[in-house]
């Protein structure tokens, strides 16, 4: 049994403009000790999904199931969630400065965190543990810096403090939401190395939420690609990069600057992501998809196995035969001028039956 099993998770918010469906039927598993990367662009619902699992979305309409180590988290009481959150599921967020309290020393905050979950731990023992943790995540002079305030640390060091805090109670699952997005590349490399080493030492499973495909390639075991609130493709890391099935995955990888570094035109995904309010039936990616055909506009494709590989699933009606794909692409190009954004969305209306 997987450590975390998420099934058909749906999250919707009431907004003045209508019901915003942030997550629309998301399912995935996280195995013990492995890293699942959830990748997607802004607004794809990747953060909302994991925040819902840990009970951090308020005012949302939630349905579906998320079983963590045998406990159902969706609809669980706040008492139950409090014992799990922090203790068994650690969390790191993108912005370490706003996740740390500016008035308290980092040591105090880690001690607070440890003792909030177990009052039997003495303050001095918790403090020793906090200093050890800061050392583990690579903060120099951990024993003196424990009494420093968050503003006295640099961005990379603050993120290390966050990791130390998230790891304080030895969680079995760590949810890292864009943990290195705010950091410079050399510091990002340090923080990723720390996370990787903690995983090796403690066997922690990681859900890594990111938009950076480079980080995905370096860190993940399995990848879920999200678009408009649902999973477009789920595959092991190498499969996703080298033998992906979904046109969105293909488009994401294709829009990256090539390794050769020539000044060629890139191949962006045309158009913009759809609004999540009142999303029409059919595949949400169809308006931007170079292969879209009639069925894509009518029926929403389910996430189903492709290439006879039980680990590889894709939510796309396309058959994996390459020549057929090319024919579809050609047919689509004939109908649609190669114009970005505005004109693409104008043509979109005509294409829709």
């Amino acid at each position: 049994m997987a450590l975390l099993e998420v099934r058909d998770l749906r999250v919707a918010f009431n907004t003045p403009d209508g019901v915003l469906e942030a997550v629309r039927g998301l399912s995935f598993d996280v195995d013990r000790g492995s890293t699942l990367a959830i990748v997607g662009e802004s607004g794809s619902g990747k953060s909302v999904a994991t925040q819902t699992i840990t009970g951090l979305t308020s005012g949302a309409r939630v349905s579906g199931s998320a079983r963590f180590d045998g406990t159902e988290l969706i609809g669980a009481s706040s008492e139950v969630l409090r014992t799990i959150r922090g203790a068994r599921i650690g969390m790191i967020f993108q912005d370490p400065l706003s996740s740390l309290h500016p008035y308290y020393t980092v040591g105090w905050q880690i001690v607070e965190m440890i003792r909030a979950h177990d009052r039997s731990v003495s303050t001095s023992a918790a403090r020793r543990r906090a200093a050890d943790l800061l050392g583990v995540v690579g903060i120099p002079h951990a024993r003196t810096r424990i009494d420093d305030y968050p503003h006295q640390f640099s961005g990379g060091m603050r993120q290390r403090v966050m990791i130390a805090m998230a790891m304080a109670l030895d969680p079995v699952l760590l949810i890292a939401d864009e943990p290195t997005t705010a950091l410079d590349v050399t510091v990002q490399a340090q923080v990723l190395a720390v996370m990787r080493r903690l995983q090796e030492d403690f066997g922690t499973a990681i859900i890594l939420i990111t938009h950076d495909l480079g980080v995905v390639a370096e860190m993940s075991d399995e990848v879920v690609v999200m678009y408009a609130g649902s999973a477009m493709e789920r595959a092991p890391r190498r499969t996703l990069f080298y033998a992906n099935h979904h046109p969105y995955s293909e488009g994401l990888l294709g829009s990256l600057p090539a390794k050769g570094g020539t000044r060629d035109r890139l191949t962006p995904i045309l158009g913009v992501p759809p609004s999540l309010i009142g999303l029409p039936a059919g595949c949400p990616f169809a308006p931007r998809c170079p292969y879209a055909f009639d069925r894509c506009w009518r029926e929403t494709p389910p996430l189903r196995m492709v290439f006879d590989d039980p680990d590889h699933a894709s939510a796309c009606w396309l058959t994996p035969v390459l020549s057929e794909r090319e024919a579809l692409r050609a047919a689509r190009v004939d109908r649609e001028p190669d114009q970005p954004q505005e004109s693409a969305s104008a043509t979109r209306v005509e294409v829709r039956p």
Partner: protein
């Protein structure tokens, strides 16, 4: 366009010489200016007509300050800025106004750089109004032409910035910068705030516009894969100094400065097999404060190849190991091709290094928390 017609071939469009920009640092209870921070320190750099110069470096290395000095948005502390064969270092506001037509900027934040209460037509039309080059109906036509050029629907002339997506807003910023047909466009992190698929659209747009209007770009970014894609030449900055500059392919094939190599190796590559096999150099510590930069070579506190002379004397930015004039490196111990930097260990006093001289990961591995509180 008339540029480059009047110019001798080898004259750079923009040249800064010994440029230094310092800001006062105030501290203490009376907010006295107690120190100077050199955000840019003695930088000499040229941008040739029609080329794209990439400027890379980490947060706080002074790349944006350098760009703002080039556009004279900041007054320089010392040094000279030459633009189009003319010394513009000390031009007054009125004289600068003429130069500004030729030097425009595109900013990182497509949300913060557009006034939310003004209509897009007015925002893009501003340059024409300010410089008095078009009014009335002609202004509207020009603005709508520009909008079409950058891939916006000209009918959206009367919309507000909030009605556009991030990528479209960046197009508005591009249109505004292009309004007066500038010679030099300074792009300060133009795609950093955008999603990958949108990022590719904007990069394509910038490349197309460069070809169409023969623009010269200064492209500032921390994203090496983007800068590698668009730039003809790249200059790498570290703590207010340029440490290496080279034509793009050469910077990647013949990397000389250990910092450049570390920067390149730290960039996550979206290719699992490459990610698993390539050399990884994890630098220790953070960027030192520019208020009190390290002695000698500023990188010595984090450099895996640091030696005693690195602490003592500052290396000059000159071609090394037989490189061409166009590839200067500021390093006493430059890398040879194929040298494995991950095997290098510094040979200087531990006190000269950041983070107590320890590589954080090794230090951490020796004291596992284990027993007591687990």
């Amino acid at each position: 366009m008339t540029e480059s017609m009047t110019q001798p071939k080898n004259e750079p469009l923009l040249r800064v010489e010994g440029l230094t920009k310092s800001f006062p640092v105030s501290s203490g209870s009376w907010r006295r200016n107690t120190a100077q921070v050199h955000a840019v320190d003695d930088v000499t750099l040229e941008i040739q007509t029609g080329e794209t110069l990439g400027l890379v470096g980490e947060t706080g290395c002074g790349k944006s300050t350098l760009a703002r000095c080039m556009a004279r948005l900041y007054d320089v502390t010392s040094g000279t800025v030459w633009f189009d064969g003319r010394d513009i270092t000390h031009l007054d506001r009125r004289e600068m106004r003429v130069v500004r037509r030729d030097v425009q900027m595109i900013f990182q934040d497509p949300y913060g750089s557009l006034n939310p209460r003004r209509r897009v037509g007015a925002i893009i039309g501003d340059p024409f109004v300010i410089h008095g080059t078009a009014t009335g109906r002609e202004l509207k036509t020009k603005v709508q032409d520009l909008m079409a050029t950058v891939g916006l629907n000209p009918e959206h002339y009367n919309r507000f910035p909030a009605e556009f997506s991030g990528g479209q807003r960046q197009r508005i910023g591009v249109a505004r910068a292009l309004a007066l047909r500038p010679k030099l466009v300074i792009c300060d992190e133009p795609v950093s705030a955008l999603d990958v698929s949108i990022q590719a659209q904007i990069i394509n747009l910038l490349i197309d516009l460069q070809d169409e209007f023969s623009l010269t770009y200064l492209f500032i970014t921390h994203d090496l894969s983007v800068v590698r894609h668009v730039s003809d030449r790249i200059a790498v900055m570290y703590l207010a100094k340029v440490v290496e500059a080279a034509p793009t392919p050469e910077l990647f094939s013949t990397t000389r400065h250990p910092y450049t190599r570390a920067l390149l190796s730290a960039l996550p590559v979206p290719d699992p097999d490459l990610a698993d096999s390539r050399e990884q150099i994890v630098l220790s510590g953070d960027l030192p404060t520019p208020t009190d930069p390290p002695s000698g070579c500023r990188f010595h506190t984090r450099c895996p190849k640091a030696r005693h002379d690195c602490v003592a004397t500052e290396p000059a930015l000159l071609p090394v190991l037989g490189d061409a004039v166009g590839h200067p490196t500021a390093c006493h111990h430059p890398l040879t091709v194929g040298e494995d930097l991950s095997l290098a260990r510094p040979d200087i006093d531990a006190t000269e290094r950041v983070g107590d001289g320890a590589f954080p990961l090794e230090a951490a591995a020796t004291k596992e928390p284990g027993g007591e509180s687990r």
